[in-house]
Protein backbone atom coordinates (compact mmCIF):
# COMPACT_ATOMS: atom_id res chain seq x y z
CA UNK A 1 0.00 0.00 0.00
CA UNK A 2 1.30 3.39 -0.97
CA UNK A 3 4.16 1.92 -2.92
CA UNK A 4 3.03 3.70 -6.06
CA UNK A 5 2.76 7.12 -4.41
CA UNK A 6 6.39 7.55 -3.44
CA UNK A 7 8.98 10.08 -4.49
CA UNK A 8 11.71 7.82 -3.16
CA UNK A 9 13.94 8.65 -6.15
CA UNK A 10 14.46 11.98 -4.37
CA UNK A 11 15.98 10.13 -1.40
CA UNK A 12 18.45 7.77 -2.98
CA UNK A 13 16.27 5.00 -4.38
CA UNK A 14 16.66 4.09 -8.08
CA UNK A 15 14.48 6.06 -10.47
CA UNK A 16 11.71 4.00 -12.03
CA UNK A 17 11.71 6.10 -15.21
CA UNK A 18 15.40 5.81 -16.07
CA UNK A 19 17.38 2.86 -17.37
CA UNK A 20 19.83 1.20 -15.02
CA UNK A 21 23.12 3.06 -14.77
CA UNK A 22 25.16 -0.14 -14.31
CA UNK A 23 26.52 -2.55 -16.89
CA UNK A 24 23.87 -5.27 -17.27
CA UNK A 25 26.50 -8.03 -17.28
CA UNK A 26 28.41 -6.84 -14.20
CA UNK A 27 28.30 -9.46 -11.47
CA UNK A 28 27.24 -12.33 -13.72
CA UNK A 29 30.27 -14.57 -14.23
CA UNK A 30 28.23 -17.03 -16.30
CA UNK A 31 26.61 -14.29 -18.31
CA UNK A 32 22.90 -13.68 -18.79
CA UNK A 33 20.47 -15.16 -21.22
CA UNK A 34 19.25 -12.64 -23.79
CA UNK A 35 15.58 -11.98 -24.16
CA UNK A 36 14.29 -13.00 -27.56
CA UNK A 37 11.61 -11.33 -29.59
CA UNK A 38 9.93 -14.32 -31.22
CA UNK A 39 7.17 -12.61 -33.18
CA UNK A 40 8.41 -10.85 -36.29
CA UNK A 41 7.42 -7.43 -37.50
CA UNK A 42 5.53 -8.87 -40.48
CA UNK A 43 3.44 -11.17 -38.27
CA UNK A 44 2.54 -8.34 -35.93
CA UNK A 45 1.67 -6.03 -38.81
CA UNK A 46 -0.52 -8.61 -40.53
CA UNK A 47 -2.33 -9.37 -37.27
CA UNK A 48 -2.75 -5.64 -36.63
CA UNK A 49 -1.32 -5.77 -33.13
CA UNK A 50 -1.24 -2.35 -31.54
CA UNK A 51 2.06 -0.82 -30.48
CA UNK A 52 1.51 -1.18 -26.76
CA UNK A 53 1.31 -4.96 -27.12
CA UNK A 54 4.50 -5.37 -29.16
CA UNK A 55 6.61 -6.41 -26.19
CA UNK A 56 8.46 -9.64 -25.48
CA UNK A 57 5.11 -11.43 -24.98
CA UNK A 58 3.68 -10.50 -28.38
CA UNK A 59 3.98 -14.06 -29.77
CA UNK A 60 1.74 -15.35 -26.97
CA UNK A 61 -0.78 -12.66 -27.66
CA UNK A 62 -0.68 -13.54 -31.35
CA UNK A 63 -1.55 -17.13 -30.52
CA UNK A 64 -4.36 -16.00 -28.27
CA UNK A 65 -5.77 -13.74 -30.93
CA UNK A 66 -5.56 -16.44 -33.59
CA UNK A 67 -7.28 -18.91 -31.30
CA UNK A 68 -10.04 -16.46 -30.58
CA UNK A 69 -10.56 -15.93 -34.27
CA UNK A 70 -10.69 -19.68 -34.93
CA UNK A 71 -12.85 -20.71 -31.99
CA UNK A 72 -15.26 -17.78 -31.97
CA UNK A 73 -17.66 -17.57 -30.20
CA UNK A 74 -16.40 -20.31 -27.85
CA UNK A 75 -13.70 -18.19 -26.27
CA UNK A 76 -13.34 -20.49 -23.28
CA UNK A 77 -11.37 -22.83 -25.54
CA UNK A 78 -8.58 -20.24 -25.61
CA UNK A 79 -8.21 -20.01 -21.87
CA UNK A 80 -4.87 -21.80 -21.82
CA UNK A 81 -3.46 -19.31 -24.32
CA UNK A 82 -4.78 -16.51 -22.20
CA UNK A 83 -3.11 -17.96 -19.10
CA UNK A 84 0.16 -18.44 -20.95
CA UNK A 85 0.04 -14.79 -22.03
CA UNK A 86 -0.68 -13.65 -18.49
CA UNK A 87 2.20 -15.74 -17.15
CA UNK A 88 4.49 -14.16 -19.72
CA UNK A 89 3.42 -10.69 -18.64
CA UNK A 90 4.00 -11.68 -15.04
CA UNK A 91 7.53 -12.80 -15.81
CA UNK A 92 8.09 -9.53 -17.65
CA UNK A 93 7.03 -7.58 -14.57
CA UNK A 94 9.25 -9.77 -12.40
CA UNK A 95 12.26 -8.87 -14.53
CA UNK A 96 11.50 -5.20 -14.10
CA UNK A 97 11.22 -5.59 -10.34
CA UNK A 98 14.44 -7.57 -10.21
CA UNK A 99 16.25 -4.92 -12.24
CA UNK A 100 15.10 -2.32 -9.73
CA UNK A 101 16.32 -4.41 -6.83
CA UNK A 102 19.63 -5.05 -8.58
CA UNK A 103 20.27 -1.35 -9.05
CA UNK A 104 19.28 -0.67 -5.46
CA UNK A 105 21.77 -3.26 -4.17
CA UNK A 106 24.52 -2.07 -6.49
CA UNK A 107 23.93 1.47 -5.21
CA UNK A 108 24.27 0.24 -1.65
CA UNK A 109 27.44 -1.67 -2.60
CA UNK A 110 28.97 1.41 -4.18
CA UNK A 111 28.16 3.45 -1.12
CA UNK A 112 29.75 0.81 1.09
CA UNK A 113 32.92 0.75 -0.98
CA UNK A 114 33.18 4.52 -0.97
CA UNK A 115 32.85 4.61 2.82
CA UNK A 116 35.52 1.97 3.19
CA UNK A 117 37.88 3.89 0.91
CA UNK A 118 37.24 7.06 2.85
CA UNK A 119 38.09 5.28 6.07
CA UNK A 120 41.35 4.05 4.62
CA UNK A 121 42.30 7.54 3.43
CA UNK A 122 41.72 7.32 -0.32
CA UNK A 123 39.81 10.04 -2.07
CA UNK A 124 37.44 8.42 -4.57
CA UNK A 125 37.63 11.36 -6.97
CA UNK A 126 41.39 11.00 -7.39
CA UNK A 127 41.33 7.22 -7.75
CA UNK A 128 38.46 7.03 -10.23
CA UNK A 129 35.90 4.30 -10.32
CA UNK A 130 35.56 1.62 -7.70
CA UNK A 131 35.33 -1.20 -10.17
CA UNK A 132 31.59 -1.61 -10.42
CA UNK A 133 31.34 0.03 -13.80
Amino acid sequence: MGNDLTISHKFGAPDSQLESKYDPLFGFPKGRKKREMIATEEELDSAMIEARKRDYCAHKFLKLKACRRDESPFFYKCNHYFHAYMDCLYEDELIRIKEFEREKRLDARQKRILQKMKKEGFSPEANGSNGSN
Binding site: S16, D55, E99
Partner: protein
Protein backbone atom coordinates in the same frame (compact mmCIF):
# COMPACT_ATOMS: atom_id res chain seq x y z
CA UNK B 1 -62.16 38.83 16.39
CA UNK B 2 -61.17 38.77 12.74
CA UNK B 3 -61.38 41.85 10.60
CA UNK B 4 -63.79 41.55 7.65
CA UNK B 5 -61.85 41.21 4.40
CA UNK B 6 -63.56 44.08 2.60
CA UNK B 7 -61.69 46.39 4.96
CA UNK B 8 -58.37 45.11 3.48
CA UNK B 9 -59.23 46.49 0.07
CA UNK B 10 -57.48 49.74 -0.88
CA UNK B 11 -59.68 52.76 -0.93
CA UNK B 12 -60.23 55.09 -3.90
CA UNK B 13 -57.17 57.01 -5.09
CA UNK B 14 -56.70 60.23 -3.12
CA UNK B 15 -57.31 63.55 -4.83
CA UNK B 16 -56.93 66.28 -2.21
CA UNK B 17 -54.17 66.89 0.34
CA UNK B 18 -56.39 65.80 3.22
CA UNK B 19 -57.18 62.53 1.46
CA UNK B 20 -53.49 61.90 0.86
CA UNK B 21 -52.66 62.46 4.52
CA UNK B 22 -55.52 60.19 5.55
CA UNK B 23 -54.29 57.47 3.15
CA UNK B 24 -50.71 57.79 4.46
CA UNK B 25 -51.95 57.43 8.02
CA UNK B 26 -53.99 54.39 6.98
CA UNK B 27 -50.82 52.66 5.71
CA UNK B 28 -48.64 53.75 8.68
CA UNK B 29 -46.58 56.12 6.51
CA UNK B 30 -45.65 59.77 6.89
CA UNK B 31 -47.15 61.99 4.14
CA UNK B 32 -43.67 62.71 2.69
CA UNK B 33 -43.11 58.99 2.02
CA UNK B 34 -46.54 58.37 0.63
CA UNK B 35 -46.83 58.06 -3.12
CA UNK B 36 -49.62 56.55 -5.17
CA UNK B 37 -49.62 54.32 -8.21
CA UNK B 38 -51.10 55.79 -11.40
CA UNK B 39 -54.84 55.67 -11.37
CA UNK B 40 -55.17 53.51 -14.49
CA UNK B 41 -53.45 50.59 -12.76
CA UNK B 42 -56.46 50.08 -10.56
CA UNK B 43 -54.55 49.84 -7.31
CA UNK B 44 -56.49 52.55 -5.55
CA UNK B 45 -54.62 54.32 -2.76
CA UNK B 46 -52.12 51.52 -2.15
CA UNK B 47 -48.71 53.16 -1.52
CA UNK B 48 -45.85 52.92 -3.99
CA UNK B 49 -42.99 51.54 -1.92
CA UNK B 50 -39.32 51.05 -2.90
CA UNK B 51 -38.69 47.75 -4.71
CA UNK B 52 -36.32 46.50 -1.99
CA UNK B 53 -35.95 42.77 -1.64
CA UNK B 54 -35.93 40.91 1.62
CA UNK B 55 -32.28 39.90 1.18
CA UNK B 56 -31.16 43.51 0.72
CA UNK B 57 -32.42 44.49 4.16
CA UNK B 58 -29.98 44.59 7.05
CA UNK B 59 -30.07 41.30 8.96
CA UNK B 60 -28.50 42.94 12.05
CA UNK B 61 -31.36 45.35 12.56
CA UNK B 62 -33.72 44.34 15.40
CA UNK B 63 -36.71 43.46 13.25
CA UNK B 64 -40.00 42.59 14.88
CA UNK B 65 -40.26 39.62 12.51
CA UNK B 66 -36.72 38.63 11.75
CA UNK B 67 -37.42 36.02 9.07
CA UNK B 68 -39.35 38.47 6.86
CA UNK B 69 -37.15 41.47 7.84
CA UNK B 70 -40.35 43.30 8.72
CA UNK B 71 -41.62 45.45 11.58
CA UNK B 72 -45.09 45.48 13.05
CA UNK B 73 -47.55 47.44 10.95
CA UNK B 74 -45.09 48.03 8.14
CA UNK B 75 -46.76 48.15 4.72
CA UNK B 76 -45.73 45.57 2.17
CA UNK B 77 -44.78 46.21 -1.39
CA UNK B 78 -47.55 45.38 -3.85
CA UNK B 79 -45.34 42.62 -5.32
CA UNK B 80 -43.99 41.50 -1.98
CA UNK B 81 -44.41 37.80 -2.74
CA UNK B 82 -41.98 38.14 -5.69
CA UNK B 83 -39.14 39.69 -3.69
CA UNK B 84 -39.07 37.38 -0.71
CA UNK B 85 -35.87 35.57 0.08
CA UNK B 86 -37.14 32.32 -1.44
CA UNK B 87 -38.18 33.76 -4.81
CA UNK B 88 -36.13 36.63 -6.17
CA UNK B 89 -33.60 39.25 -5.18
CA UNK B 90 -33.67 42.22 -7.60
CA UNK B 91 -31.00 44.05 -5.57
CA UNK B 92 -28.44 41.26 -5.83
CA UNK B 93 -24.99 42.20 -7.17
CA UNK B 94 -24.17 39.60 -9.78
CA UNK B 95 -20.86 41.09 -10.82
CA UNK B 96 -17.97 41.50 -8.44
CA UNK B 97 -15.73 44.57 -8.68
CA UNK B 98 -12.85 44.29 -11.13
CA UNK B 99 -10.28 44.30 -8.32
CA UNK B 100 -11.89 41.18 -6.88
CA UNK B 101 -12.04 39.49 -10.30
CA UNK B 102 -8.38 40.27 -10.93
CA UNK B 103 -7.38 39.06 -7.47
CA UNK B 104 -9.11 35.70 -7.88
CA UNK B 105 -7.86 35.26 -11.45
CA UNK B 106 -4.23 35.90 -10.59
CA UNK B 107 -4.53 34.05 -7.30
CA UNK B 108 -5.76 30.88 -8.94
CA UNK B 109 -3.01 31.09 -11.55
CA UNK B 110 -0.49 31.50 -8.75
CA UNK B 111 -1.80 28.52 -6.77
CA UNK B 112 -2.12 26.06 -9.65
CA UNK B 113 0.92 27.43 -11.42
CA UNK B 114 3.08 26.91 -8.35
CA UNK B 115 1.93 23.29 -8.25
CA UNK B 116 2.86 22.83 -11.91
CA UNK B 117 6.18 24.60 -11.31
CA UNK B 118 7.01 22.33 -8.37
CA UNK B 119 6.09 19.28 -10.47
CA UNK B 120 8.40 20.32 -13.32
CA UNK B 121 11.23 21.86 -11.32
CA UNK B 122 11.66 19.03 -8.81
CA UNK B 123 10.82 16.33 -11.40
CA UNK B 124 8.14 14.76 -9.23
CA UNK B 125 6.76 11.49 -10.48
CA UNK B 126 5.49 8.22 -9.12
CA UNK B 127 8.43 6.01 -8.28
CA UNK B 128 7.14 2.46 -8.40
CA UNK B 129 9.57 -0.28 -7.53
CA UNK B 130 10.09 -1.30 -11.12
CA UNK B 131 12.40 -0.32 -13.92
CA UNK B 132 10.83 0.83 -17.19
CA UNK B 133 9.29 -1.80 -19.43
CA UNK B 134 11.70 -3.41 -21.85
CA UNK B 135 10.55 -2.95 -25.43
CA UNK B 136 12.18 -5.05 -28.12
CA UNK B 137 13.71 -3.34 -31.09
CA UNK B 138 16.69 -3.35 -33.40
CA UNK B 139 20.05 -2.81 -31.64
CA UNK B 140 18.41 -3.35 -28.28
CA UNK B 141 19.68 -6.08 -25.95
CA UNK B 142 17.81 -7.07 -22.82
CA UNK B 143 18.71 -9.86 -20.45
CA UNK B 144 16.86 -12.25 -18.21
CA UNK B 145 18.28 -13.25 -14.83
CA UNK B 146 19.09 -16.80 -15.95
CA UNK B 147 22.72 -17.73 -16.66
CA UNK B 148 23.61 -18.15 -20.31
CA UNK B 149 24.27 -21.89 -20.85
Amino acid sequence: MREPTYLWKPGPPPKTKEEREAAARKYNLIPEDYECYPEDQGLGDYPKLPYASMDSKDPYEPWDHYYDRRNYGEPLHIQWELITSEVHDPNREYFKPWSSILKWFLGSILVFGSAVFADIYFDLHINSRKKPKQWPGPEKVHYTFEPAE
